[in-house]
């Protein structure tokens, strides 16, 4: 793994991306024993517009706390995807919601598309777990943190009542990741 990994989780206010970032950082920092920083754009955007949560994970001390070039980009809306894809590293990967991001950017990166929100709604009856499924996918795909760590982090940060459903959502994410990896291998870059 690279010394320093930069992640950008983007979408719109209300999709729970700040929480997702916190969980990722906590997984890395507390449960995997690395260093971790989470920041966010905290704008008027927060009410409806584009929203962004950034996580930097490193084995050593973290100086600059924000993303310079992201290694991993999660995009849960078209606007967010359009805005932040510019800042994706050449060898970085993009994970996007395939129903919400309809115009997939024409880039040479690894792109993983999946109807995350729709799946959340279908399987759990609520879009609220979209963020956690996304986390599962990212971790499943990249192992940026260990699966154990992310599991613990999810449990520690979501309300007690919601623990079970969130754990399930996370595991679902892992599964989706597996599938996506396979598909990706098969079809090269762009995957649906």
């Amino acid at each position: 793994m690279k010394e320093r990994i930069e992640m950008c989780l983007s979408g719109s206010g209300g999709q729970g991306l700040i929480l997702a970032g916190i969980i990722l950082a906590e997984a890395a920092g507390i449960y995997d024993g690395k260093e971790a920083v989470q920041t966010q754009s905290y704008g008027p955007e927060a009410r409806g517009g584009a929203s962004r949560s950034e996580v930097v994970i490193s084995n050593g001390a973290i100086d600059y706390p924000k993303v310079i070039k992201s290694d991993i980009l999660l995009a849960l809306t078209q606007t967010a995807c359009d805005k932040y894809v510019k800042n994706l590293n050449k060898d970085g990967i993009l994970v996007a919601d395939s129903t919400l991001v309809t115009e997939v950017p024409n880039i040479s990166n690894k792109i993983y598309l999946f109807p995350i929100a729709e799946t959340a709604q279908k399987k759990f009856g609520t879009k609220l777990v979209t963020n956690i499924i996304s986390l599962g996918i990212i971790v499943g795909l990249t192992e940026v943190v260990s699966q154990e760590a992310i599991q613990k982090a999810v449990c520690s940060r979501v309300p007690v009542k919601a623990k079970e459903v969130n754990e399930k959502a996370l595991l679902l994410g892992f599964d989706i990741a597996k599938d996506l990896k396979v598909k990706n291998k098969k079809s090269g870059n762009k995957i649906n």
Binding site: A36, Q40, Y42, I62, P65
Partner: protein, 384 residues
């Protein structure tokens, strides 16, 4: 959530959370405030945690009242904190002056956002650095600290209270939106490992107590209201008894003592960190979140073989004049990246006394300066 009963502890804390945590560790038992982005989480944490340990939280009608309540509570014996951002800082200025002139310990957090006026409420800035020094009218000293990591927020909050109690003076803690809202892994020290300083109490009986007569260190012992020492406090220039005076000698002595108790202890108060400065020919000087960009810049520059170092300030006021003066004699160039139009650079120019080039690098668009830009600036300046 707070750490008072447990030992050392590792957590992912938000900057504002760390500030609250640090305050509780420092012994804070009173918070008065008025919400404002990006500081509100400090209040929210204090509202939740203080009553758990018998402390008090109150949301006042505005920042003026918050500052007043904090001063009142401190006089009545509780270590007290308030937190705000630029617009609220403006409103606190008058009562901040009252705390200064009456030597009341307390800490004021300013989580800086873009200004002037309502400005950019959710974006970071370092635009209030000079306001911290000069915001309240009249001649006065001030201590201001500026952390750049969440861990430093915690430790400097404790330091802020220690200075405040030791020197009987309000201390300003300058955060910026980036570090206030950032979450970072923090090792919280155990209570027993923390140095906590409390105000010096009078050792004489009440009849002999002169509330504003300094000891040799320039600081008068402080009796809390309700402890049997009856005395007067006033925002007018006052004598040893705390009563108003219009005697020129007393006035002069008072104002100078107030100033000198900080200035003469500058060595104790000034804290900074040096990265790769030993052989540096180019120095960056930075503080707050920008210092972290600068730190990275140093690494990047060194990779390119450029002899760049960083002086990272933790204490902003009193300003480390002598350190900078020395540095100016060593290096050819000082670059000062700031998220403002150039404030600290003014002090640096003054301290450099023409001995090296001093160049500001400023950003005022609400975005954190990044390491690459600073590196670019270095390259550009080298060519000149």
């Amino acid at each position: 959530m707070n750490n008072l009963k447990k030992g050392k502890n590792i957590k992912l804390l938000q900057g504002n959370e760390a500030c609250a945590e640090g305050a509780l560790l420092a012994g804070v038992r009173f918070f008065a405030g008025y919400p404002i982005t990006p500081s509100s989480e400090i209040a929210e944490n204090m509202a939740r945690e203080l009553p758990k340990i018998g402390g008090k939280f109150i949301q006042m009608e505005d920042e003026i009242a918050s500052m007043a309540a904090v001063i009142g509570a401190s006089i009545a014996g509780l270590k007290s904190l308030t937190a705000t951002s630029g617009p609220g800082m403006c409103l606190k200025q008058e009562n901040l002056g009252f705390a200064i002139i009456n030597e009341i310990p307390c800490v004021v957090v300013n989580a800086q956002r873009g200004g002037p006026s309502t400005g950019l409420p959710t974006k970071p800035s370092q635009g209030d650095m000079m306001q911290a020094r000069w915001g309240t009218h009249g001649d006065h000293p001030i201590i201001a600290l500026a952390p750049s990591t969440v861990h430093e927020i915690l430790t400097l909050t404790i330091k802020a209270f220690n200075f405040s109690e030791k020197y009987r003076t309000p201390v300003i803690l300058l955060l910026d939106e980036v570090i206030a809202h950032m979450r970072e892994k923090v090792e919280i020290p155990a209570l027993e490992d923390i140095e906590v300083i409390n105000r010096k109490k009078p050792t004489v009986p009440p009849e002999e107590y002169l509330p504003f007569k300094p000891d040799e260190d320039g600081v008068p012992p402080m009796a809390n209201f309700g402890e049997g020492y009856r005395y007067h406090i006033t925002g007018l220039i006052h004598n040893y008894k705390g009563l108003p005076t219009s005697n020129s000698q007393e006035i002069d002595a008072f104002i100078r003592r107030l100033y000198n108790k900080i200035q003469k202890n500058a060595k104790d108060i000034i804290m900074n960190e040096k990265y790769f400065l030993d052989d540096a020919k180019i120095a960056l000087i930075a503080y707050g979140s920008v210092a972290r960009a600068a730190e990275r810049t140093v690494k990047l520059a060194r990779e390119e073989g450029l002899k760049v170092g960083l002086l990272k300030l933790l204490t902003i006021w009193p300003f480390c004049f002598e350190e900078v003066n020395k540095l100016a004699q060593q290096v050819d160039l000082i670059i000062v990246p700031e998220m403002n139009l150039g404030q600290m650079v003014l002090e640096i120019e003054r301290a450099a006394q023409g001995k090296c080039r001093v160049v500001p690098y400023n950003r005022v668009d609400g975005e954190l300066i990044n390491p690459i830009e600073i590196l670019g600036k270095i390259r550009e300046e080298i060519k000149k």
